[in-house]
């Protein structure tokens, strides 16, 4: 069955890839990506995107149960690859027929057309594109039917090389202070990596993969199997220790900019931990979470600002509990009117709260107190024993401490009575109440504790920036935080971290896609939810029945 040729499928896959390519071209992404080198002088991101379409179409055609034969695979690849070229060719020909099309489709520029027609004239280029894509389609199909022993190392070699090239910014920032300028220039271009580095990575990745499959995997597994219970515990303890130490020295390795990015991610983790309590644990869909973030930030700003609006001129540490406390108070107060609302009613009302806070912050009404559009300036920085925290690395430790606290509180509460009450509430509010759970206090605790972390994040945010403006507190923040906890895996604490890294960290590192960042973000949200609706790191089921006995023993031993 599987070796049979399914031409209709090939055509469908090819056309689909072609339409996607057309879309990417028409919105200007291709042209913009073409200015980004991956491997200097050899490959741009635009070329990679353009040429991977037919390749994957060809690959996809042969994707069935088991391997295809060479003949049918090649034919399928040709069809899929050639059809991938059809929509872009249509676009090229359209510009011939309607030269004014650019008045409507602004990104269909001569540069794009020249890129698509591979530098040749329109008609010749179209044919050229057709041929190249057909060949790439075949290549994709052939790649799929390669024996695993060859294909796997190739995949890992290419994958590592391209991944490294796309994220060259990260390694660039880490390596810049370590390597000299000469070495840096040998390895990195201004955008992307040099062919030399690409070759090194490619060869190394292939070498490692082969070594691993031939030798290493076995050795690792046999050693793992030979370990005793105590050794496993020991090694777990060691890896936790290593984890903590690497968290502590992380900013030193990363350098200023990446630490700044990690700080941003950290603030979102902090907010995510809080919202995870409200949405993930207690099931209360809150779309206005930014409100408490704003409240924390503004309270901190007003209390510590040295400028005209500052009252109290407090120190950061004195203002911090007040800011968090105000956020909690706001969380509880705003929680009361929505106690009886459920699901989507709750969602829209909380969204409204978030908007109300934002509009009020901008308004002329409160301008005399919180600065309106002009914001609050000269917010104080935290000091420890006379040392002023100014750099990203200083805030890294502050945020790390905050996240640590949040993880501690969230995990303790999750495993306790309150956590069970929240989860019961999430599963079935009526039955939860019928079990004797006091809905009001349980819900308000969720709102209050959730708001506390958001307020804490806001307070740190405000001290970190030294100035705040209402623009920072928009709906997008709420949406971002909600998305990251769901993408990470709702209710899961490691999920929050993973979600924040993917949805906050990654876009930050891919700032060169700036114009298309939100487009890719949207596509990423959809793709991730379809691929893994349960999230990237779903929360595991807590083992209690048998674990309980152990705990008891431990307790008994301690007493």
């Amino acid at each position: 069955m599987s070796s049979q040729l399914d031409l209709r499928n090939a055509a469908r896959v090819g056309l689909l890839a072609g339409v996607v390519t057309l879309g990417i071209s028409a919105v200007g992404m291709l042209e913009s990506f073409d200015t980004r080198d991956l491997i200097v002088g050899l490959l741009t991101l635009g070329q990679l995107v353009l040429f991977s379409a037919p390749f994957f179409a060809g690959y996809r055609v042969t994707l069935g149960e088991g391997k295809s034969d060479v003949g049918p695979a090649a034919v399928g690849g040709v069809v899929a690859g050639a059809l991938t070229a059809v929509p872009p060719i249509a676009l090229i020909l359209l510009t011939l027929a309607a030269p004014n099309i650019r008045n409507s489709l602004v990104n269909v520029s001569p540069e794009l057309i020249s890129l698509l027609s591979l530098g040749a004239s329109e008609v010749v280029g179209s044919l050229l594109l057709l041929v190249v894509m057909a060949v790439l389609g075949v290549a994709g199909a052939m790649f799929h039917i390669l024996p695993d022993a060859i294909r796997k190392p190739l995949v890992s070699g290419l994958g590592w090389m391209l991944g490294f090239a796309i994220l060259s910014e990260v390694s660039l920032n880490i390596l810049r202070p370590v390597l000299g300028r000469g070495l840096m220039r040998a390895l990195f271009g201004t955008k992307g990596i040099t062919p030399l580095l690409a070759a090194i990575i490619f060869v190394a990745a292939i070498g490692l993969t082969i070594w691993w499959s031939k030798n290493g995997k076995q050795r690792y597994e046999s050693r793992k199997a030979a370990m005793s219970e105590a050794q496993i515990k020991q090694s777990r303890r060691v890896s936790i220790g290593v984890g903590i130490v690497s968290l502590l020295i992380l900013p030193i390795i990363l350098g200023t900019y990446l630490t700044e990015v990690v700080d941003n991610v950290g603030l979102f983790i902090l907010m995510g931990m809080g919202l995870n309590i409200v949405v993930g644990f207690a099931g209360l869909l809150d779309l206005g979470y930014v409100a408490f973030f704003a409240i924390g930030a503004y309270v901190m700003g007003i209390l510590t600002s040295q400028g005209a609006l500052g009252i109290g001129h407090m120190s950061f540490w004195l203002a911090l509990p007040i800011a968090v406390g105000t956020a909690v108070l706001a969380g509880v107060t705003l929680g009361i009117p929505v106690l009886r609302m459920r699901g989507d009613y709750l969602a829209i009302v909380t969204l409204g709260f978030g908007e109300i806070i934002r509009v009020l912050a901008t308004s002329d009404l409160l301008k005399p107190y919180i600065g309106g559009a002009q914001g609050i300036l000269q917010i104080g920085k935290p000091t420890i024993f006379g040392f002023e925290m100014v750099k990203p690395i200083h805030f890294y430790y502050l945020i790390l401490a905050g996240v640590g606290l949040a993880v501690f509180v969230a995990s303790r509460l999750r495993d306790a009575r309150l956590g069970r009450q929240w989860m019961a509430l999430r599963e079935d509010e009526d039955v939860a109440e019928a079990m004797g759970i006091h809905l009001v206090s349980t819900k308000l605790l969720a709102f209050g504790i959730g708001a506390a972390f958001s307020g804490l994040a806001g307070a740190i945010f405000s001290a970190r920036l030294s100035s705040i403006f209402p623009h920072s507190f928009n709906l997008l923040i709420s949406i971002n935080v909600l998305s990251l906890i769901i993408v990470g895996g709702i209710g899961s604490l490691p999920g929050v971290v993973v979600g924040a890294l993917v949805l906050v960290g990654l876009p930050e590192l891919l700032r060169e896609f700036a114009e298309y960042r939100m487009l890719l973000y949207g596509a990423l949200l959809i793709a991730m939810m379809i691929a893994r609706p349960e999230g990237l790191w779903p929360s595991p089921v807590t083992k209690r029945e048998f674990h309980a006995a152990e705990e008891e023993e431990a307790m008994g031993g301690a007493q």
Binding site: V409, R412, L413, D415, A416, R417, L418, R420, Q421, M423, A424, R426, E427, D428, D430, V431, A432, E433, A434, M435, G436, I437, H438, L439, L445, V541, T542, K543, R544, E545, F546, A548, E551, E552, M555
Partner: protein, 264 residues
């Protein structure tokens, strides 16, 4: 002594009277049943007892205290537990977590204690876990404590729901069709199990049931509802021979289709 006394309870939905001037008592230590055709108002009456619905008229007194106007959680804490016609477990939580939630009325320590693992909290939690495992054994779910409750078999889910209700240490247990969807053998086991609850734990039991074999087998007193009103009351033999009951059940086919199912 009467544990539960309902007098002239009336519950209306819009123009529809679901429970009509219903007076009813359950003696302490009894196993009583309420039967009646679909839509007769049985589950509605349960919902009135447990505070899910507020009723317009009448009074319900439990163990000397009025339940009128009390919220569901307060009523549960007074000592009334229930199960549901369509099983309503916390499906994303494990079996043992479901039981632990049921134990709510027994637990008193606050979240602050949990945060710092203060000794009273740890002690209470350990006790609760042990109690939960005991209940797990009692209902025959040993070894399934860490399964998500939605992954349990239907019969196990029914048993878990009862275990969850028992966890609250109720004085009165309301069972809404505990044998629905079971085969005769399972029904018989459940019947035996219900009897054990009363005999071993001393819990008073009130059940809604359609399976006449179960009802007649264990009930000491049976009340028949039709269109929200009581049409008969008495021991199994009295009910079996009561002409009004027979009429209500025989006419059911025609009646049920015209009645709107309120209890869904």
């Amino acid at each position: 002594m009467a544990l539960l006394e309902a007098t002239n309870v009336t519950k209306q939905f819009g123009g529809l009277t679901a429970v009509n001037d219903f007076t009813f008592t359950v003696e302490k230590g009894a196993i009583d049943s309420i039967i009646g055709p679909n839509g007769a108002g049985k589950t509605t009456f349960f919902n009135c007892i447990t505070g899910f619905y507020q009723f317009e008229e009448g009074a319900i007194v439990f163990d000397g205290h009025s339940v009128n106007g009390r919220s569901t959680d307060q009523i549960t804490r007074m000592g009334i537990s229930r199960t549901y016609q369509n099983i309503r477990l916390f499906s994303q939580m494990t079996t043992i977590e479901n039981i632990l939630v049921g134990m709510e009325p027994q637990l008193h320590t606050s979240w602050i204690g949990a945060l710092f693992r203060l000794p009273p909290t740890v002690k209470e939690e350990t006790k609760a876990l042990n109690e939960a495992r005991r209940l797990l054994d009692f209902v025959g779910l040993t070894g399934k404590g860490d399964d998500l409750s939605r992954n349990l078999s239907y019969g196990d889910q029914r048993r878990l729901e009862i275990a969850r209700a028992l966890a609250a240490k109720p004085k009165l247990l309301l069972l809404d069709e505990p044998t629905a969807g079971m085969n005769p053998r399972e029904s018989a086991e459940t019947t035996e199990f219900i009897r054990r609850l009363r005999d071993e734990l001393g819990i008073t039991i009130l059940l809604i049931e359609h399976d006449m074999r179960v009802v007649m087998g264990i009930s000491e007193n049976i009340t028949v509802l039709d269109y929200g009103a009581k049409i008969a009351e008495g021991g199994p033999s009295d009910i079996q021979s009561n002409p009004r009951v027979i009429e209500a059940y025989l006419g059911r086919g025609a009646a049920a289709s015209a009645t709107i199912e309120i209890e869904s």
